[in-house]
Symmetry: C2
Subunit: 111 residues, 2 copies
């Protein structure tokens, strides 16, 4: 993911709602997938070492998701592009955002 | 558990082997119970918050077990007494230890 934030973007309240919904949907999909993976790991666990591996997996995901799902205007096009690139979000879910935001997000998904 | 270690205890190699076996058996029982509990929690998990609770549970157990299963002569009668008291160990598994060690462990389990 790119680290440089866009600073000039303005978001209408309609755009904000669209982005928030897309964001929430992506978070739900990504964490549902994590829950399934954690259940699978737990089911296969037999030893303390297996559980410590699960513990490490959960700690890492928690930290990663905490940093990733950052709903701030400055970083939003980057986060949305990352989510689309990773498959947690369809670009069509962003219909209603301004053409320049969509264009930026689309370009970022190709990087 | 008492914090003050015995300093005067001498352990023969036979006693050391008996203690080590009892220690390993208790560790196996306690961690088997933890694995079952973690599997149960994972199975009931549906949300990220459920997984963070599992993450916290595993982190706490890991830290606790790390500190508890300390096989050093100075603390061994205390650890063995604690394990017996918690039900992870039968006193009969310590048959072969000197009478004074058994007596100390027995008294400690009553505290």
């Amino acid at each position: 993911m790119l680290a440089m934030p866009t600073t000039e973007a303005k978001w209408s309240s309609t755009e904000e709602n669209i982005a928030q919904s897309a964001f929430d949907a992506a978070f739900h999909r990504e964490t549902r997938s994590m829950v399934a993976e954690a259940k699978r790991q737990a089911e296969l666990s037999a030893t303390p070492e297996d559980l410590w591996a699960l513990n490490d997996f959960l700690s890492a995901r928690r930290h990663y998701l905490d940093g990733k799902y950052d709903f701030h205007h400055e970083s939003l096009v980057f986060v949305l592009a990352q989510l689309a690139k990773e498959g947690w979000l369809e670009l069509s879910e962003l219909d209603g955002l301004s053409a320049d935001k969509i264009a930026k997000i689309r370009v970022l998904t190709l990087m």
